[in-house]
């Protein structure tokens, strides 16, 4: 009936990366908890802070929706590049997915590229959804070239930094411990890491928070979309975190 005559061969590299990225993005968006983290929580936070700002006095210098929308986009990026990636990779290790793919024609470079492309796909979706919600609430971002370049660079370098840190956790801890740690760190950074709220609203702690990857991501997005600047300091901070995370991950990551 079937013909099993050997005819081995690897698919072209780029088509391997494409199918791997499509699969990872699909699995991420199909998973209820991941979707909650990626889309629902950022939307709730955005509407929540913009509404709350009408009743509270906050130390911010711009309209709340202009101040918070870039921060919520930053939060969404962090949830995907850090928490979702860490949890997904932790369970891939647990279920032997990485081991099995390691015996397929997909190389480790292909696997990593696939993950990066999947992250970017999900992040584009998040930016469209959160950005549209912001626009509905009256957001008017800067639209100059510097705003575009600054926010793009921030998203790219922050994805590298948080992705490397997520993989660091996933590559060392067991899957359940990764799940707990990635969620806990996400919550701590959301509350105290100057992602959604600017570092100026944290008082003295703001001077520390701006050196955290979360604070640098938030500040980079705000500076670009509120002031139309490229925030080189934040970009440098993020690049340092990316280098640190990548170095540690390369030394410690275990594929099984």
């Amino acid at each position: 009936m079937s013909d099993f005559t050997p005819r081995p061969g690897a698919a072209p590299f780029l088509s391997q990366v494409r199918v791997q990225a499509a699969m990872e993005a699909k699995l991420m968006l199909r998973n209820g908890e991941q979707l909650l983290l990626a889309i629902v929580i950022p939307l709730i936070v955005l509407v929540g802070v913009v509404e709350a700002a009408k009743h509270l006095t906050l130390h911010i210098s711009h309209r709340p929706v202009d101040e918070f929308t870039p921060g919520v986009i930053a939060l969404a990026i962090m949830s995907t590049a850090f928490t979702s990636l860490a949890i997904a990779t932790g369970f891939e290790r647990r279920y032997g997915v990485i081991k099995r793919l390691g015996a397929s024609p997909l190389s480790r470079t292909g696997l990593l590229l696939g993950k990066v492309v999947a992250l970017v796909l999900v992040e584009v979706l998040q930016i469209v959804v959160v950005g549209s919600a912001g626009l509905l609430l009256g957001w008017s971002p800067q639209t100059c070239l510097a705003a575009f370049a600054g926010s793009l660079l921030t998203v790219v370098i922050a994805t590298a930094a948080f992705g490397a840190l997520g993989l660091l956790i996933a590559g060392v801890l067991r899957a359940e411990a990764t799940l707990a740690a990635a969620n806990l760190i996400y919550l701590l950074l959301m509350a105290g890491g100057a992602v959604v709220l600017p570092t100026s609203s944290y008082g003295a702690f703001g001077h520390i928070a701006r050196w955290l990857p979360s604070g640098a991501l938030g500040n980079g997005m705000r500076d670009a979309l509120i002031n139309g600047h490229v925030d080189w300091t934040s970009l440098m901070v993020l690049a340092c975190w990316a280098a640190l995370g990548a170095t540690l991950t390369a030394r410690t990551f275990q594929w099984e």
Partner: protein
Amino acid sequence: MRYGEKTAVDGLDLNVDRHTITAVLGPNGAGKTTTLETCEGYRRPHEGTVRVLGLDPMAQRSDLLPRIGVMLQSGGAWSGVRAMEMLRHIAALHAHPLDVDLLAERLGLGDCGRTPYRRLSGGQQQRLSLAMAVVGRPQIVFVDEPTAGMDPQARRTTWELLRELRDNGVTVVLTTHYMDEAEQLADHIHIIDRGRMLASGTPVQLTRGNSATIRLVVTKPFPDDAPASLQVALGEGVDVRAVDERSLVITGTADSTTLAKVSAWCEANGVLPESLNLGQRNLEDVFLELTGRGLS
């Protein structure tokens, strides 16, 4: 191959002929999976060389991987992925994959194609894993305990598929701790235990053709000198080995005369047989002779 102080596989010299089914047979913990994973390039041998299709599985990994198919002992798929989605994914990583629908139907995966991996039964997961191993049209497939946990029907389907692969020119290397699987399926069997090769050959060579075995099981533990005194009673040409305190195995010229002598010995020693069987020597007996222990 060592893990810390423990040597899992030691001095294993094993060759596999192309276009055959080779079984690596041994009890749990014998080093079967370690051997296979060294061939698949997951582990670097501490000493010695491994060549698969003439390639070094570590140094020439990217050349080798498209040419081999791997079935892991467990796992290997995302928990939320649907069965057919997973199979299509592995197929898409290859240049000339098999028709996934035909393959799925062949392995009885047609009904559970949309079921998430975590909800598949153990046997369905095994069959999916086997399908993933062969879908890329490899020259060699390595299958680790392919029928563990399968029902008899799925087991037969799997055996048929593995035979058909061989007949189509695929080299099949499997590990198993089921002696009937090795005996019925394999062209060559390597028996390993505690990381060492104990015996190799065709099933017929290993069981020495039609030589017979007598198994004696008794109701109460044997007297202390049991194997020795029975050996004396039976004389030259047979070999008596204790399996445990209530059973022993007699090999050599095991015929009806021997059977009668065993009965007489039982009567003389006040031993009541629970069962006394004369049968074909099988791999279980071979393993027992080699190690002094049973296979399972």
